[in-house]
Chain length 358, copies 2
């Protein structure tokens, strides 16, 4: 039985070699004859995993000096609160760009720190099908928060806002998919379950300088400075998720690093968007210039044909391309571990669908 073509939006496809190694470590970790999940996180074997994971993040993303890399729990949804707590300065005036569901979540959490988010731009007027442009960022903002890729709406920032205001980004769904300039950001956070590893770990990359501007009393587990002073081990870390993240980063490094990954991801996205634009039965839902290379959202021009299309992709062993339950339609997620051959399989189905129903 072949493996299905896994277009799941997250948790999502991980490299086969990573899954094999992870499976083995659950039985025998590092030759200890003990499972990865039954040894102390304070033992030298797991401490080496934590250190190697941090080092790979730094190396692959080119993280400059003066930044700390952390692996915590709670997902990006807890990151909404953690980022606000740790980046809020004395002005209590944080700026947010609202590009969809996850941005809205981040905006909501600000209120629990006692401040109010200043939403300086939004694409809500057209169901978040584009990335706002031509807004101004108040220079007295504590920080500007963006969601670099919007999984549900299929949009992505292809240009990071130029600003002197400290920049905070939720990069859950496109980190490690393309090269970024970390030095532009004071804080980056990302749930692991897309290009990094299994759900349960959350990556933070924080500029140490930014910690000096903090003004709020921050609960211990949400305090990034306390967490990096304890090297992400203030309490027991999510051992398995961090270990598998390390394996995935090793895989990415062996593949040629983020430059090579970006080239492949561009090819995958071009392959699918070209077909969507060519095939008269399909329509992309995001504005062309803001289309996500990670989550390709599209609909049928004739929704009545959905059962026929669904039958075809299921026959082709494709899984996970239904749109998010809040928007419907289709969504093909092209995360790092998805091979071009899976994209080609979907394109074949779309062409076959056109032949039969076009």
């Amino acid at each position: 039985m072949n493996k299905p073509h896994n277009f799941s939006a997250g948790p999502c496809i991980l490299p086969e070699s990573v899954l094999q190694q992870a499976s083995e470590a659950v039985i025998n970790f590092d030759g200890l004859n003990l499972s990865l999940i039954e040894v102390s996180h304070r033992g030298k074997n797991f401490e080496a995993v934590m250190e190697r994971s941090r080092q790979l993040v730094k190396e692959l993303l080119g993280v400059p000096e003066g930044y700390q890399v952390l692996f915590l729990q709670g997902g990006a949804s807890l990151g909404f609160l953690i980022s606000a707590y740790n980046m809020m300065g004395s002005r209590k005036n944080p700026a947010y760009i609202n590009t969809g569901t996850w941005s809205a979540g981040a905006i909501k959490e600000v209120s629990f720190t006692g401040a109010t988010a200043n939403v300086i731009a939004s694409s809500q007027d057209r169901n978040f099908c584009y990335i706002p442009k031509n807004y101004s960022i108040p220079s007295d903002s504590d920080y500007l928060h963006i969601t670099t890729n919007n999984t549900i709406e299929g949009t992505q920032f292809h240009h990071i806002p130029e600003t002197d205001v400290p920049l905070v980004a939720d990069m859950s769904s496109d980190i490690f998919s393309k090269q970024i300039d970390v030095s532009k950001f004071d804080l980056i956070y990302a749930g692991a379950q897309k290009n990094l590893g299994p759900a349960g770990a959350t990556l933070y990359i924080v500029k140490e300088e930014a910690m000096a501007r903090r003004t709020l009393a921050i609960p211990t587990m949400l305090d990034l400075k306390k967490q990096y002073e304890k090297e992400s081990m203030y309490n027991t870390p999510p051992v398995f998720s961090i270990y598998v993240s390390m394996l995935t980063l090793e895989w990415l490094k062996n593949l040629g690093g983020i430059g090579e990954m970006e080239r492949i991801n561009n090819e995958k996205a071009a392959c699918l968007y070209t077909e969507i634009d060519r095939n008269p039965l399909f329509k992309g839902t995001a504005d062309l210039e803001d289309r996500s290379k990670m989550n390709v959202t599209f609909v049928l021009n004739n929704a009545d044909l959905e059962p026929e299309f669904d039958r075809l992709w299921k026959e082709a062993q494709i899984s996970g391309i239904r749109g998010h339950r809040s928007v419907g339609g289709y969504r093909a997620s092209l995360y790092n571990a998805l091979p071009l051959s899976s994209v080609q399989a979907l394109v074949d189905v779309m062409q076959n669908f056109e032949k039969q129903f076009g």
Copy 2:
């Protein structure tokens, strides 16, 4: 090569059959030919895991009607904050019993909710080697918080305080080890990485009625009511940790449930404490009546002999019995999955040590 005798204090030993099943699911989950960690948490296969996990908790612990079972992230250390947020009523006067490191952590987090913990009893005067008795619980307390088992100090509540004040318990290190009366508690929370599963999941059992007394604005991810209304899926849950917890609970059920587990745990603890009390080279560190059946702490009467003792237990393939770095000495953790034969192996080493050095 035999498996070491794993006395690790957490993460700790898990049943062999559970590790085998977990390892397989990392490659092929539910016969889907996809890994457990690469499928959607919203798919019917994982939703069944979440539902079964909840059901097993309810069944094994005899959770009454009117309680909700949740699997969240953050460990008990985030639970310190979550419990304070969700249990704080209008009096802002929560009572705490301080029995060691973890209680102290819980007491500290209260301040971030704007209240101050009222420490009504403490065993700090004798390095937390006992459980306080003969204290009075102010009837106007919002709740009383206890840490039922103290992993570092080796003490355990063998009698739950009788009170009309809502009772909150951090049961991270003894839940599922013995029968408890859940109806006595308004909130129980526990990090998974002892008797439940791998680090990364945290169990909450909360009385629905208690949610009506809340007075604080609670950040979304820390709000137990919002979390159970979303069935622990407000955001992506820690899939792997929950799955392995489910497997461990199935193992416990097949073994005969908590009654049988308690019988075995009593036997294990009696075996080791009997030797500590009999052997003139050893001394237990906790008061007899408050000794933990999960974490047995002891020292050598002659600390100079530590290198000799260390050599003997290492030769016997014993691992994880060094005391916590904050207190030193020795600690043998006897969690559910540790077999009596491992305890016997340690007792043999202690007797051999006596023969050689007594």
